[in-house]
Symmetry: C2
Subunit: 704 residues, 2 copies
């Protein structure tokens, strides 16, 4: 419970000061200015008062109970003071001081000591090297922070790893006119973490929308767990910086974290149902709209405008962000034709023309609110001097208040001259932007939230037809023989145990065994060298395909034996399968805390050269598996190009699910790939032509 | 010459009015308020004065000369008034009235009549259905427009087809603090066109940067010609709306233009060296930065910050926009280490920490201005209350004034509290943004302008080794025989005439001829049906490859003869070439006014299914040909994936140039494709395996 942090009844400031340009002064000033609804206890051994409030030489001298203490003293003194806080019964300490993990070397040790001390004395820590928190709830009004960008109160809560970014977002929300509920920037986050804060806000009735900025993801699994839970009720908007190599290098020097690839964060955001943003402007705009309006039921947007040009720009942006701007139904068109100006355009966008009057706006917005084929409205409004713009705002405001569909406003004007018009719209809860791109993107973000909710509600279909025991036995056997890879023939059996088809195959040692196996399998066959140290067999020349008879197989055997000279070489002879389905690749890797991450891509150059691969967490629902297939850039190649038959996406999705479940059920398979899998055409079966499973003993087995 | 439009010595307002909420009042009001430096002549048959200025019953009664007349009367009266304007000697008329082409039907006829009348009487037209112009040049101060969003004077000129978009951009520039030179929104553009306006601004010494918004491109060739010329001296920033199908449909109802694909506009922007933008915010931000700062010499950006988080976001954005944020040189690092705070990060971004003081900013900016490995600076600045922020601004301002490298500022603050700091930076000519993304994108746009200039300066290498006469003769021959396609064997000769290799091939009619030809060419061969009506031969089963001997050829011949039963069928037998180079596709199509548009893509599913194809105008310089090859998404597949040899890009570019020149030299080839072309590996030759040329008689030949 983070109530002592976000709803403190009393705040001590250890390091309070009367010098105005210090953090120890500023925090007290901020608490006073924000009208903090609790006691303030300055702690300073050399001052009787700070900002007219009695000060105490030490935290132990404070007369009342202390929920929250700011600590703003020399870094090396912090652990000692935390011990005192513990003795005093302080519940949470915000450590504003820097000079810990982020400076490396001794700072790392100091932070470790700090954490140990706090644990030992039952004090929760926020920071160090951080700004603090803000809570605008009028019952609390806590500005426990040394910045001074006072927010408007409202329903958006914001947590950001970087204090600078928290401030930028806070400022942007303010400029949009969007209100903030709680604010937290926890810097090094040695104890209280971002997921813990999000979980807390999940239960805060005043928080409707959560913004979360991350530079380096400390505990992906915990964020995933919390965001999945909270996201069902409140949209969580994620922003990750350090996406590029240069950016990640900068994160590394900024936070002392490791330089990491961005894939995991993107995957966690997606799997947790968080909306992912690439710039702060769009992030804040989406939060503003989400906080103000109901979610749309679908992605079909009606645009109402009194200027064609901006509405076209809004339409482009809506469509590119995944919405549609459909033609209106005949009934709606007829209704509009009867009430609008003759020169109005009764299509979508509905163009009322610059001369459109308040009643025209009212009728157009009403018609779209009533039209079952429209899920949300983008109102694009210029303010002509010859129109009663306040009247327009009043008519729209009256309709939108309490409407079940979202209405997002774009008012393009010189703000200073049209404050009343803007105010009327805003007071009715309509988010108002000044560019059509902003309004369109915000509305599109709302449709993504609604879509995510629908996905989350879908019950995952259960898989059947797999044999857990058989698979586990194969892994056992490989580990028992101290192999780090499951032999190819057994790998096929592993797939078969989970219902995935493979060609008939036999592992052999000698030419005679090989010929015999081939005779049994039937020609044509393929011959492969079977060695753990040859990872990319094809590239290494260890695979010869299309052997049509014994003579060809004999030659191929000799060639492989010659190319890979080693006593006791093993071979795999398998049926040579050719199909019309294109080749795809499945991959899987166990990731700390997340379980197996499943990769999917097209064969050929797509994965290797074009990096066209997408990821998902196992196990996969049918919907997620389909989504994964469709998310690669090369998907149109599977969907049936000219002269090609389309792949059976459902059967391919089923194969992905089986592969994912195999890895989820068997964490001792640390890496796996099926390369290639022949994708199925309509009614056909996917067939795995090659498979590789890396296995490792579990922790228990290692200890045993 | 558009001086009478943009620098009128006198303006008549035909349809002037004393009613405040009319355009006829507003324009006179606007001229007065802007301090117009010339005579105003209200024309109104029923008023003695308008806004205290003597009015005249007709334009013919105006005593002095009239450069420019606003026409704000009923649409059907406009042609008659234009005739009067002609008799009066009015040079240009701005037709604010709507009800012309954009309403279809009779409006189209009315607009035609208007244009004819104006031509007959020597009056240039601006509009109809338009706003007008603004010129902030203090010598002129003309606000010939019925809006009232007064701009700040400055060096950016803005032309937008849509009046609404013009206003939105004008407003945005105002909010950024960026100054406007001239403004034009010409609506239906029946006479004075956007290219003509851009050409005029090319010679306006007060215009440094040009913004151009387009909904439907009326004359791509003219825009290309003008933008190429003007763009050498002044950056032209293009914004096209109606990119999506729904957006284009809206454009169609907005302007009465045809619904068009966006490809041509994108191509013209690119070929003309215009910067292309997808949203108005980035467009305005780039214009602001380009107007304020010198161009960078390269793409290497140094970031100076006092907050890590926002600088990381700026770094991500810079890198994703094509810039680099390189490590600093050892000398620079040493220099910085000596003068900055101990806790500062002496990497790139240079993080001075929140406690960084004015002298630290000075030293960091100076070091980067002096560092030869840095081409431009992004200054990312939060305003801590404990720092002398005005001092920071003063130090930076002093260094940046007159510096040869661009410095773009991002100041993240509550603006109201830090106006002086912002003012100091702005007064030194530093563009200041409030989000790091904005500053980074603007700086990246500047590097793209600089790069475009460098490309434009490059002299195109001349091609040799092609035979124009031989190619023309083949086209002549096909047309003489009334063929709409050049026969395959001759198509190969056409390529050969421009130095492109093809396999040996012979056109045949009978089996005997076919076998004979194959014997001469040498096995293996490929056999193709040769018919104009079979466009996609492979998909239609009209191509059989890899025929290894006479027996296989004989069977193949019978199969094709059976599959395409028609008397007198023709065949092509050709050497069966297999190479390691991947297959690419070249295409070409003559486009009205632009000449041949060349298309390039990868073979296989890339062009058809993934629409991974890019375009360029012929002829191609070597640099443009290389750029075209590298611009497709699938380029990494050519650059050498794992286990693949890279394509020889220069030799492939040479082949593209030859193909483009062939089409440029022979406009009677209206469509062409080489599909596939085997791309060359290092030192190899590209080989065209199939080619198709559609031919059409020239206008003269048609008439002859």
């Amino acid at each position: 419970m983070l109530d002592p942090l976000f709803r403190p009844a009393s705040v001590a400031v250890i390091g309070a000061s009367n010098r105005r340009l210090t953090i120890g002064y500023r925090i007290i000033e901020n608490l006073l200015e924000s009208g903090f609804n609790g006691a303030i206890y300055p702690v300073n051994p050399r001052a009787a008062f700070v900002r007219s409030i009695p000060a105490y030489p030490s935290i132990l001298d404070v007369p009342g109970e202390v929920d929250l203490a700011h600590v703003i003293v020399k870094n090396t003194s912090v652990p000692g003071l935390i011990e005192e806080c513990g003795r005093k019964g302080v519940k949470v300490a915000i450590i504003n001081t820097s000079g810990f993990r982020e400076v490396g070397g001794e700072g790392i040790a100091l932070e470790r000591k700090l954490v140990e001390t706090a644990r030992a004395h039952g004090v929760r820590l926020f920071g160090p090297n951080c700004q603090g928190i803000i809570n605008t709830d009028p019952e609390v009004s806590a500005y426990c922070n040394f910045t001074f960008t006072r927010p408007l109160p409202g329903p958006i809560s914001l947590v950001a790893q970087s204090g600078g970014v928290a401030e930028v977002i806070n400022n942007r929300l303010f400029e949009l006119g969007a209100g903030l509920r709680m604010y937290a920037s926890n810097g090094n986050a040695c104890d209280i973490s971002i997921p813990e804060i999000i979980e807390y806000w999940g239960d805060d009735p005043g928080t409707k929308v959560i913004i979360c900025h991350i530079e380096s993801l400390a505990d992906p699994a915990e964020l995933l767990r919390v965001a999945r839970k909270v996201g069902r009720r409140k949209p969580i908007l994620g922003f990750k910086s350090g996406r590029t190599r240069a950016g990640a290098r900068a994160v590394s020097s900024h936070t002392g974290g490791l330089m990491k690839e961005d894939t995991t964060t993107r995957l966690v955001f997606r799997e947790a149902g968080m909306l992912s943003f690439r710039d702060q402007a769009s992030l804040c705009e989406a939060a503003y709209a989400l906080a103000a309006q109901p979610l749309p039921a679908g992605k079909r947007i009606g645009v109402v405008t009194n200027a064609g040009g901006p509405a076209i720009i809004g339409t482009d942006e809506l469509v590119e962000a995944g919405c549609s701007v459909p033609e209106l139904g005949e009934a709606t068109r007829r209704k509009l034709r009867a009430v609008l100006l003759d020169e109005a355009c009764v299509t979508n966008p509905v163009d009322l023309m610059a001369t459109g009057r308040p009643e025209h706006f009212r009728e157009a917005v009403r018609a779209l609110l009533d039209d079952e084929r429209i899920d949300g409205i983008l109102l694009s409004f210029i303010t002509p001097f010859f129109v009663d713009c306040e009247g327009v705002a009043r008519e729209v405001a009256a309709l939108v208040r309490g409407a079940a569909k979202p209405v997002v406003g774009v008012v393009m004007t010189r703000k200073a001259s049209w404050q009343v018009t803007l105010r009327i719209l805003r007071d009715a809860g309509i988010p108002v932007f000044d560019l059509p791109e902003s309004g369109a993107r915000a509305l599109a973000a709302m449709t993504r939230v609604a879509e995510g909710r629908a996905v989350a509600k879908e019950a995952p279909a259960v898989l059947s037809g797999h044999n857990r025991g058989a698979a586990a036995a194969i892994v056992d056997e490989a580990l028992a023989r101290d192999r780090s890879f499951v032999p190819q023939e057994r790998a096929f059996k592993l797939l078969a145990a989970y219902g995935l088809k493979t060609p008939p195959a036999v592992e052999t040692g000698t030419l005679e065994q090989t010929l015999e196996a081939a005779a049994e399998i039937g020609y044509p066959v393929v011959l492969k060298i079977e060695r753990d140290d040859v990872v990319h067999k094809s590239e290494a020349g260890g695979v010869i395909v299309g052997l049509r008879d014994e003579a060809e197989l004999r030659l191929a055997f000799e060639e492989l034996a010659h190319r890979f000279p080693r006593a006791g070489s093993r071979f795999l002879v398998a049926a040579f399968v050719t199909g019309n389905g294109p080749e795809v690749i499945l991959g899987g890797k166990q990731e700390e805390g997340l379980g197996p991450v499943i990769a999917f891509g097209l064969g050929g150059i797509f994965v290797e050269a074009l990096h066209d691969v997408e990821f998902a967490l196992a196990p996969l629902s049918m919907r997620r598996a389909r989504e994964l297939i469709r998310s690669i850039r090369g998907y149109p190649a599977l969907a049936g190009a000219r002269g090609r038959k389309p792949v059976d996406v459902d059967r391919l999705a089923d194969a992905l699910r089986r592969f994912a479940l195999l890895l989820a059920d068997n964490p001792r398979i640390t890496e796996a790939d099926v390369n290639p899998l022949l994708a199925p055409l309509a009614g056909g079966d996917p067939i795995a032509l090659d498979a590789r499973f890396k296995v490792e003993k579990s922790q228990e087995e290692h200890r045993g």
